[in-house]
Assembly symmetry: C2
Homo-oligomer: 307 residues x 2
């Protein structure tokens, strides 16, 4: 089934202990779309500037991503620069030039109205809500957010959370959103805000999904997928969005959304995140095969599997 | 088979967001011995002062721990005070009164010489080495250490690491010991210092074991046991030593030490750590049943288990 991703496309300048890369294609929607493209049909709604050329669009098209929803506006594409020199888990931002992204008003092409799944990448929660309300046929909505929106647009975010089925955020965001430092208690508070399930991403330690009672099946316990310890983390940028792409892409590829599918999806999320960090930008996500993905899935599974 | 634990017995004053407790029985060897006692025969070598009474010794004896190796010295028992008010993962030390522990010279009673397994809790690495060298019949030695020894007695610690089969330390200690911020690379460097296996404890995210090529069987991948997300962490003190007790206790209870046994042991370590934090001090570890332990093992297993 088809997934629509709405979010940023960007050019990034990235410094890490492994080196640096300038003007690499990035943005949450890009990472998500490429990761999800290995599992299902993906469509994208984003805005780019005049510096976004056919060469860039072809990165997505080559992976079969439907790019008709990319709006070409006058001006420059969103640009971000950051470095991970001290800590691979957290970027220090050098600059954020929103450019054409500053006035992003997502427009959903008519051909996208039948999208089955929706991923609302990290953008203003009011825009997220508008997009969701305009797509009545969507079966399942995944969403992301960040500290900035939790602080500055909290009430709008609360509205959006009622429209999101599975929220995907990291430990720090979950604790901030819930105003609660204990993770399982924070998870319960976030679930009470609307989502049926909450994925909390732990970076190199994997991710945990918490369910509302009865959501997607029975069972009172959370589920955790570890991440493979990776020796060569070249560039952590986009790991979370690649995780989301693998997670939702796998779910969309299945005939039913139940607990077992979601558990496997959590492993596939970790797999796609682990590939993303192996090269700068989206490079590694452009050239994978389903065989490589499934081989790593098997390794991740064995990483915690008891006979 | 029998395990000998050598390390500290202490009285702790602990403050956490859940409350506070003074003069509670603690110390690495105490947590380890209680946790391991649910799996196998445990012996303990430690030093206590005149404030350590029959009441305290009976906590260990009730769990079948052989306490003949506890030396009663003139003076006070080791006392530690700390708080976890801001961060449950790291204690802020209020005071450390070494007392009789300052001149601890572990003496191994003749009846302990046939111990099959040895756990060297976090003490001066020179003492750890002396103990190990005096026990020629030991089949497997587990060890712990901490930042203090890594910094101030590095060459002694390096000597000790050649005598330890399985080292159990946390992320920060592993990175400091290896002078390497990437965890899998740090693990390889630590393994090159001597141990056949390295358990890295991740607190609420569980633990990962890395193996030297060919150690305890075949396989080139590490193994990770997650921890159950716990809503009520009353007191994190002793979680790591309880983990070690569950891990080594389970190994000692098996007829052979192989990869599958070690994997299950890693889960049992997480189980015992998760019980330890549910009450202040060693309270929860005093009153468990093997049924409760195995029920939680099952929950931990299902936490990451794919059909």
């Amino acid at each position: 089934m088809s997934i629509l991703a709405v979010g940023s496309v960007a050019f990034d300048n990235i410094k890490t202990p492994s080196g640096h890369a300038d003007n690499v294609l990035g943005g949450a929607a890009t990472y998500f779309a490429l990761a999800a493209s290995y599992f299902t049909d993906v469509r994208i709604v984003a805005v780019v500037g005049e510096d976004f050329t056919d060469k860039h669009e072809n990165v997505l098209k080559k992976r079969g991503v439907d790019t008709r929803g990319i709006e070409h506006a006058k001006g420059k594409t969103f640009r971000w620069g950051g470095q991970y020199l001290d800590n691979l888990n957290e970027a220090k931002t050098d600059f954020t030039d929103l450019n054409v992204f500053e006035n992003f008003q997502p427009r959903i092409p008519a051909q996208y109205k039948d999208s089955d799944f929706l991923f609302l990448a990290n953008i203003n929660p009011s825009l997220q809500a508008t997009v969701r309300r305009g797509l009545s046929g969507v079966k399942l909505t995944g969403g992301d957010t960040m500290n900035y929106w939790i602080r500055s647009t909290n009430s709008e975010l609360r509205e959006t959370l009622r429209l999101v089925n599975i929220l995907m955020i990291n430990d720090g965001e979950a604790k901030m959103l819930a105003a609660e430092s204990n993770l399982p208690r924070a998870a319960q508070k976030v679930l009470a805000m609307g989502p049926q399930a909450l994925v909390i991403k732990h970076g190199e330690y994997g991710a945990t999904i918490f369910f509302r009672e009865g959501a997607f099946g029975l069972g009172r316990h959370p589920f955790r997928a570890p991440a493979l310890p990776i020796e060569e983390v070249k560039d952590p940028t986009g790991a979370g969005d690649s995780f989301a792409g693998g997670f939702m892409g796998y779910i969309a590829s299945q005939t039913e959304v139940n607990r077992e599918v979601i558990k496997r999806a959590l492993f596939y999320g970790g797999v796609m995140g682990s590939f993303a960090v192996e090269q700068f930008g989206t490079e590694r996500l452009q050239s994978l095969t389903r065989e490589e993905i499934d081989a790593r899935f098997q390794i991740f599974r064995e990483l915690t599997h008891l006979e």
